[in-house]
């Protein structure tokens, strides 16, 4: 509420200051980078200007969009598939004893296996191509999201479940009106973390399993003539897209019906 009492200029001023601090931080870093590259003669590493030029080149010849769309396409499918299956699977494991006892130990064994270890098997089963990459992203996202949902369901206070029974809710209505809203805040945290993992994994999968996408761009630029400016351009693009995806999901946490679920809910009002 505090901000509501200030005039509009009061509210803009701190934001401007914050933006100014970020911009100067980036500028200082870029200057230091450029200087370091110039001092080290014969280095293959590009400076910031070379990277910006490389991004411009990629944008101009259309490769930027081609690779970006390829990566996003794979992440979207692998991730959406994982979300669609992990949410019901997590709810089932969280609300029943027996399936949890039967499957739980296997999940615990699978969990420490890096999703990248699945790349050879994915290629063996699905061949080199989009399907293998999507399968790897699916595997990387499905497990952590299932466990996040399961734990969230486990943590629903008993009074809410009892109130649901008392008000005569069963089956689908119970899931829709009580279980789903009760886990929503933690589900969104899980979605954010999983999106981060999916975006990390797509780059690695594209270096091996396919011949397009931002991961392929990086490995191809190195192999086809040591174009390290393109390598770093790819890295910068990956970072920016990842940040964008995270910011989009972070916005969901500000919804009024979810705010209760985050630690400092009482301070945010």
């Amino acid at each position: 509420m505090g901000a509501g009492y200030g005039t509009s200029s009061d509210r803009i001023a701190p934001r401007m200051r914050k933006a100014w601090v970020s911009v100067s931080g980036v500028a200082i870093l870029a200057a230091a980078w450029e200087m370091a590259v110039r001092l080290e003669t014969g280095s293959l590493l590009p400076g910031p200007f070379a990277v910006v030029r490389a991004i411009g080149e990629l944008a101009a010849n259309g490769l930027l969009w081609k690779h970006l769309v390829a990566s996003l396409f794979r992440v979207t499918w692998g991730y959406l598939l994982a979300v669609l299956l992990a949410v019901p699977a997590g709810m089932l494991l969280g609300s029943t004893r027996r399936p949890e006892q039967a499957i739980g130990p296997y999940l615990e064994v699978l969990r420490p296996i890096s999703p990248l270890a699945w790349i050879p098997i994915a290629i063996l089963w699905l061949g080199v191509g989009d399907q293998a990459a999507i399968a790897i992203i699916f595997l990387a996202s499905f497990l952590p999201l299932t466990l996040a949902v399961k734990n969230a369901v486990r943590r629903i206070p008993k009074v809410h479940l009892q109130a649901a029974s008392n008000f005569g809710l069963g089956g689908a209505a119970r899931v829709r009106k009580v279980i789903f809203p009760a886990i929503a805040p933690q589900l969104i945290v899980g979605l954010r973390l999983t999106m981060g993992i999916a975006w990390l994994v797509v780059v690695a999968a594209e270096m091996i399993a396919v011949n397009s996408g931002l991961g392929f761009l990086i490995i191809d630029a190195r192999n086809a003539g040591n174009r390290y400016d393109l390598v770093v351009a790819g890295m910068v693009l990956i970072g920016m897209v990842g940040l964008g995806l995270d910011t989009a999901l972070l916005r969901l946490e500000r919804l009024p019906a979810l705010r209760w679920g985050y630690a400092n809910a009482s301070e945010r009002r």
Partner: protein, 261 residues
């Protein structure tokens, strides 16, 4: 056990009947007897307090009455029907945090009545918002309300279902003493207006003497009905009257409380 009891031999005047109720929990293979041979009859529209020390099994008894917990033996009958599961005709008001934190006050109060038509639902929400004095807080989320307001909202949510029995499990236990007193007065006002049958669990002797028509005093574990006290003081009750103090002190003596701190 339930089948063994004919419903026809129950007194017709009772709203709630508890017959030979026993609850035993198992803990590490050791049986723990929580409730022992509880018999109880509550008349329609009666306000009954279940009083006992912390941990004696009061809440367990209320959970069985509400249909959340199956008894080990014996049974509960409401309107002559055995209670086997929770039922929207009998609403449970929880100790605290029973409101759904993702819904506003009005959405919480309207939670159980979405089968009603829109205008009727609106009207009922408005009626109970006003009855519990939460006007102006319809759009607030539970984390924006004080403890007392949350408790009022929960009572309103229960009443909006138009139940015939209300189960209240130490509803004012977590509140400060001033708010507690105000809410007791409001609960009595609401009860006089709506005439629900109320079963109210508390460990507070004063609270039970202020509210109840009858007080069921439970013993320590395993809980048995130690005594049933009729509170023959008309409302509004004078908390310094001789009869009030007499009842309060006799129950205190029964439980084994000293008169001096």
């Amino acid at each position: 056990m339930i089948q063994a009891l004919g419903t026809e031999d129950l007194p017709a005047a009772s709203k709630v009947q508890v017959r030979g109720l026993n609850v035993t929990f198992e803990n590490d293979g050791q049986p723990i007897h929580i409730l022992k041979d509880i018999d109880l009859a509550v008349a329609p529209g009666e306000f009954v307090c279940i009083l006992g020390p912390s941990g004696c099994g009061k809440t367990t008894l209320l959970q069985v009455l509400g249909g959340f917990l199956a008894p080990t033996s014996g049974g509960v009958f409401i309107d002559g029907e055995p209670v086997i599961r929770p039922d929207p005709r009998r609403i449970f008001v929880f100790q605290e945090r029973g409101l759904f934190p993702w819904l506003t006050t009005e959405e919480n109060i309207g939670f159980g009545i979405d089968r009603l038509g829109r205008p009727e639902r609106r009207a009922r929400i408005q009626r109970y918002v006003e009855l519990v004095g939460l006007g102006g807080f319809e759009r607030a989320f539970p984390h924006e309300l004080s403890g007392g307001m949350k408790q009022r909202a929960e009572v309103a949510r229960a009443l909006a279902m138009n139940p015939d029995v209300l189960f209240l499990d130490e509803p004012f236990g977590a509140l400060d003493s001033i708010t507690r007193l105000t809410l007791r007065r409001e609960l009595l006002r609401i009860w006089e207006a709506e005439r629900k049958t109320i079963l109210f669990v508390t460990h507070d002797i004063e609270e039970s003497v202020q509210l109840a028509d009858r007080i069921v005093v439970l013993s320590l574990r395993p809980a048995t009905v130690r005594r049933v006290v009729e509170v023959d003081i008309p409302h509004p009750r004078d908390l310094s009257s001789r009869r009030y103090l007499e009842l309060r002190d006799s129950i205190g003596a029964e439980i084994g409380l000293a008169h001096r701190v």
